[in-house]
Assembly symmetry: D2
Homo-oligomer: 342 residues x 4
C-alpha cells in the first residue's frame, strides 16, 4: 500500500504535537504538510524540540489549495469556532477531514450554537459529520468523510456509561461524573491558571454545572439510551501533565449484581483494541494509560447505597484527542486500528 498523505491545520497546540508524533511513526501514512495562521514559516523543531532529528517539517501559513494538492487526509487541530471556518474547502475537494474541535460533534446544531454561543457557519457539513468514537460508531466512521472528534472529558464519560444505556438498569437522571484532568487539558496558552506554581501541589474544581462538555455527553448518551439522560459533570484540574480519571456515579433502577454488570461491560467492549475492562476489584489509574490510546474501566457496585460507580481512565491527549483521531483515520483508511498508536 502506498502511503497516504496527511496534512494538519493548526499545528501549535498540545493535541497537534501528539498527533504529529503518532503520524510520524505510522507505517502507512506520510505527514506532508503542517499549517497554521502564520506570517512566516516556522520549523516544527523550534516549536517542539522533541521532533529534532525526526522530521524537517515546517509549519506554513495554512493554504487550502496547497493542502488540497498535497494531502488526502486533513486533520483540523484548531480552537472551537475556528475549525468550522476551515472545513469547507477540504470537504469540497473530497478530502477526509478529521476535526479535533467541538465544531462537528453535535447532532443538534442548535445545542452546539447554544453551548458555544455562536452561530454555526457550516451547518451543511455538520449534517454529514460523524462523531468519532469508534467503540460506538465504527460503522459510520468507516464511511465518513468528516469526523467530529470527541472531547476529552466526553470520551472518558461516554465510554464509562455506554454499556448501560440500553439496559434500563440505571436511572438516567442520576449520573454524576466527577472528572480529574491533567494540566495539558487546559491547553498550551501561558495563563495564571497554567503557571507551574498555580497548578503544582493543588487540585481544584472548575466550571461546575456549566462546562461545555456536558451537552456533548448528554446528547450522545441520550441517543444511545433513547431517553433523556442528564449528567452532572464536574471537571478538576489535577497536578499532572496528562490523563483524565472520571469517577461516575449512577443510581441503579433495577436489581442487578456486580457480575452481571461486569459481564455487560466485557461483552460490550469485546474485541475493542483500546478499551480494557479491569477484573472485579481492580481500579484504573491515569498512569497506566498515560501516553497510550487505551481507556481502562473499573466497576464497583455498592449494594449498600444502590449505586454503581464506574471509574474510567484515559490519556486526555491521545484517546481524549489525537490518538482517537488517528484511530478514526485508521478505520477510514482500512489500516490496522492500532497503527501509529501505542
Amino acid at each position: 500500500m502506498t502511503k497516504q498523505s496527511v496534512a494538519i491545520v493548526g499545528a501549535m497546540g498540545f493535541a497537534a504535537r501528539d498527533l504529529i508524533a503518532c503520524l510520524l511513526r505510522h507505517p502507512q501514512v506520510e505527514l506532508v504538510m503542517l499549517g497554521d495562521k502564520l506570517d512566516q514559516p516556522l520549523s516544527l523543531v523550534s516549536v517542539y524540540p522533541e521532533f529534532r532529528g525526526q522530521t524537517d517539517l515546517v509549519i506554513e501559513n495554512a493554504d487550502a489549495s496547497r493542502i488540497n494538492s498535497a494531502a488526502r487526509i486533513v486533520f483540523l487541530a484548531l480552537p472551537h469556532k475556528v475549525a468550522q471556518g476551515y472545513a469547507h474547502p477540504f470537504c469540497e475537494a473530497g478530502k477526509i477531514v478529521i476535526d479535533l474541535s467541538a465544531d462537528f460533534r453535535f447532532d443538534d446544531i442548535s445545542l452546539y450554537e447554544k453551548t458555544y454561543a455562536i452561530l454555526h457557519e457550516a451547518k451543511d457539513l455538520n449534517k454529514k459529520a460523524v462523531y468519532g468514537l469508534p467503540e460506538l460508531f465504527r460503522k459510520e466512521i468507516r464511511n465518513a468523510t468528516l469526523i467530529g472528534n470527541p472531547g476529552c472529558y466526553p470520551t472518558s464519560i461516554i465510554l464509562g456509561c455506554a454499556p448501560l444505556m440500553e439496559t434500563g438498569w440505571i436511572d438516567p437522571a442520576s449520573i454524576i461524573a466527577d472528572s480529574k484532568s491533567g494540566v495539558s487539558g487546559a491547553g498550551r496558552a501561558a495563563t495564571p491558571a497554567t503557571h507551574y506554581v498555580s497548578c503544582n501541589e493543588s487540585i481544584r474544581a472548575y466550571a461546575i454545572g456549566s462546562h461545555r462538555h456536558t451537552p456533548e455527553v448528554e446528547e450522545k448518551l441520550s441517543r444511545l439510551s433513547k431517553e433523556k439522560v442528564t449528567v452532572q459533570f464536574t471537571p478538576h484540574l489535577t497536578p499532572m501533565d496528562r490523563g483524565i480519571l472520571s469517577t461516575i456515579y449512577m443510581n441503579l433502577r433495577k436489581d442487578v449484581n456486580q457480575e452481571k454488570i461486569q459481564k455487560r461491560f466485557e461483552e460490550f467492549y469485546s474485541g475493542e483494541p483500546f478499551v480494557r475492562i479491569l477484573p472485579q476489584g481492580q481500579l484504573p489509574s491515569t498512569k497506566t494509560v498515560s501516553c497510550t490510546n487505551f481507556c481502562d474501566i473499573g466497576l464497583v457496585l455498592d449494594s449498600r447505597t444502590g449505586r454503581l460507580i464506574v471509574v474510567s481512565a484515559i490519556d486526555n491527549l491521545l484517546k481524549g484527542a489525537s490518538g482517537q483521531a488517528v484511530q478514526c483515520m485508521n478505520i477510514i483508511l482500512g489500516c490496522e486500528e492500532r497503527a501509529g498508536l501505542l
Copy 2:
C-alpha cells in the same frame, strides 16, 4: 500564664511531625516529651531533620508514668487500634488526652468495632470522649478530657455538609462525596503504593464503597440531621504532598436558591476562625489552604439538575489531623484558638 506541658506518644508519623511543628511555635505550651515504641532513644532530628536547631528533643520509649509526671496534655499519634491501649493510664491520671486515631471518634462503639474489625478495649473511656470538631462541638470540647480527633476525609466532608443537616433542604440519602487526597494521607510507610513513581503523574480511586471513614461521616451527619444520612464516599490518591479536596453532591429536596444556601453557610460558620466560605462564583483549591488550619468552602447550586455541589478544601495533616488537635487543645486550655497555628 505559665506554659502548659505537653507530651506526644507516637512520634514517627507525618501527623506527629506537623503536631510537633505546631507545638514548638505555640507560645503557651512546652513540648516536654516524645514517646514511641523504641528499643533505643532516637533524636527527633534524626527522624525529621527539619527540626535541627529548633529542638533537642529525643524520642524515648513511651513510659506512661514518666509521661504522667512530666506532662499535663498528652497527644496520642498512634495507629488505629493501638491508641486505645495507651489511653487508660493518662486518662486515669487526669491528663487531657487528645487522640488522633479513630479509636475514640465513634458514639456507637459497635459501629466502631464493625468498621475496624476489632473489639474496643476502652469502652469506658469512649463514653466520655468528645469528637474534636470545634465548629460543631466546641462547647463539649471545652470541658473534655478525652478528644477523639476527627479523620481527615471526615473533617472535609462534615464541614461541607453540616450547615444543611438541620434545614431539610437536601435529601439525606443523596450525598456523594468524591474526595482527593495528597499522598501524605497514605502515611509514612514506604510501600509500592507510596513509591514516587507509582504516585507521580497519576490519580486513582481506591476503597470505593468500603473506606472506614464512611461510617464516621454518616454517624456525625446523622446526629446533626436527626435522620439517617447515607454517604457515598470515594477517596482518590492525588499526586501532591498535602491537601484534601472534597466535591460533595446533594439532591435538593426543597426549592432553595443559591443566595439562601450561601447565607446559611456564612451564618453557620460566622465567627469561626478556620472556616472560610468563599464568595459566590469562587471555588477553593488545596493549595490555598496548604500548611494552614483553614477549611475553605465553595458552593454551586445547579438549578438545571436540582443539585447542590459543595467543594471543601483542607490540609489533611493540619485541619485534617494535627492542626485540629491543637485547635481542640487551645479550646480546652482557654488559649487563643489560633495559637500555634498558621
Copy 3:
C-alpha cells in the same frame, strides 16, 4: 514595645506574598499599607486568596507621601531597575528601606550598570546601602537605613563559600556553583517557560555563564577573600515550587582535612539562628528548609580529587528573598531575629 508600622511597595509577586505572610504573623510589626502601580485598588485576597480571613488589606496605587505618613519601614518588592526609582522619597523621609531587587546590592555601581545594562538613577543612595546578608554583615545591617537584600542564588552560594574565603585553603579561581531552583524563582509572570507542562517532569540549565547573579556573588566573595574570586555559575529550573540547592565545587589549595573544614564552618556560623551545618556524612535537601528561613549546609572533601564540595539548601522565597528581608528588619529594629519567621 508599640508595633512598628510597615508598608510594601510592589505587592503582586511571589516574594511579596511570602513577605506579607511573615509580616502578618510578626508580633512586633503591623503591616499598614500595600502599594503597587494600579489604576484601581485591589483587595489582597483577590490576588492571593490564601490571605482570606487574615487581613482586609487592599493594594493601592503606591503613593510615597501617603506611605511616608503611615509607615516607618518600607519594603520594596519591585523588579530590578524599577526599585531604584522608588527609593528616594522614602530614604529622604528617614524611613528604613529594604529593597528586594538587585538595585542596591552592588558596592561597585559600574558593575551593577554593566550587569543590568542600565544607568543607576540613585547612586547617592547606593553608597549608603548595606548588603542584607546578616551572617556576614550583621553589624552594618544594624545601623542601616537602606538594605540591598541579596539575590536568591547568591544567598545560597555566598553562605556556602564564605567560611573559606579568608582561609587560603581553596583556589579562588576554581569555584563552580551548580544551582537548582524551584519554579517560583522564575517569577509570577505566566510565560511559556513557566507553564506547568513545560516545567513538570523536566530539569534544564539556563543562562550558563551569563546569569546576572554571577557578578553579585563574585563581588561579595572577593570582598571577603581580599583577592579576586571567579565563580562559574549555572542555574537550573527544577520541577518544584520552592527551594534552591547549590552544589559548589572548589579545588583545595592546601592540604586540609574534612574535620578541619567541618569545624571551620561550624565555628563561622556558630550562634547563627538560620544557618545549620549538617554533621559529616549528611547532605541537605530543599524540602528540609522549605517554607523556612534556614540555610542548611553539607560538606564533602573528596581527597581523591582534591576538591571540596559544599551543598547548600535554602527556600528561595524566604532565606533567598522575603525571609532574609524580615531578618534584616528584625536586626534593625532590635527584635528577636526569628520573629515572624519559621
Copy 4:
C-alpha cells in the same frame, strides 16, 4: 525475516518494564519468555497493569535450559552482582546476552571488584564482553555475543565528553559532572528514600565522591583519551519520574572557540540516530528526550572562565538502560537501529 526470539531474566524492575515495552513493539523480534526468581508464576499484567491487552506473558521462575530452548537473545535485567551468576549457561549455549547490570561493563576486572566490593565470578566471560555504547563501540558491538550495557549516569556523561577526549583541548583532571536524575533511577524498591513525600518538592545530592558510576566513566574516558581522566561526579535525586541531565564542566587547555567545539561534536556524532547536538545557544531538557532513546547535547564555552560546559540529557530508563540495550540488539541482529525505539 523470521522474528528473532527474545527472553528476559529479571522482569520485575523499571528497566525490565521499559525493555518489555520496546520489545513488544519491535517488528523483528518476539518476546517469548520472562524469568525471575519466583516460587509461583506471575502474570506480567499483575506486576505492570499497563501491559493488559498487549500480551499474555507470564513471569516464570528463570530456568536456563528452558530459556535456551526458546530464545536466541537473552536480556539480563538483574541487580549488580546477581547477573554474573546467570550469564554462563546462556553464553555457553551461544546466545546473544545483553546484561543491563554493571557486571560486564569494566575492562579492568579488578576495578570492578574494588568498586562493587565483590569477587567477579565470570572473569572469562568478562573478557569477551563489549561495552554497549553504540556511538563509541558500534563495530565491536556488531560482533559481540555478550554486552555490558552502560550505566545511566555514565551514558549521559560519556556521550557529553567523548568528542573531546582525543583532541587535547581539555584538561582531563578538570572534569566535573553534576548530574540530576529522576526517581525511577533509584529503582522499584519502596524505601523511605523513594516515598513520594520524601522526593516530591525536593532535590538533593547523594554519594558525592563515592558513587560507583565514577570508575565506569573514568575507565571509558581514559580509554578514549589515552591519558588518565579523573571525573568529579555528583548525582542528585530530582522530583520527576524519568530523565538524567548532566551538567559537565571542563577546563580548556588550549585556545579553542565555541564554533570549533560545536563543529567537533556535530562531526563526531554525524549520522548517529540517537544523539542530537543542539544549535549554539540552545540547551537540552530532560522532558524533550523523555520516553525516547535520544541523547541531546548543548554546549557553552565560557571564555571569561576558560571553561567548557556541556549539558547532556537522556531518559535514564531508555538511552540510560533498556533503549540502549535494544539499540545494541538491533546492531547485532542487523536490524534498523531505531526498531522498537521511539
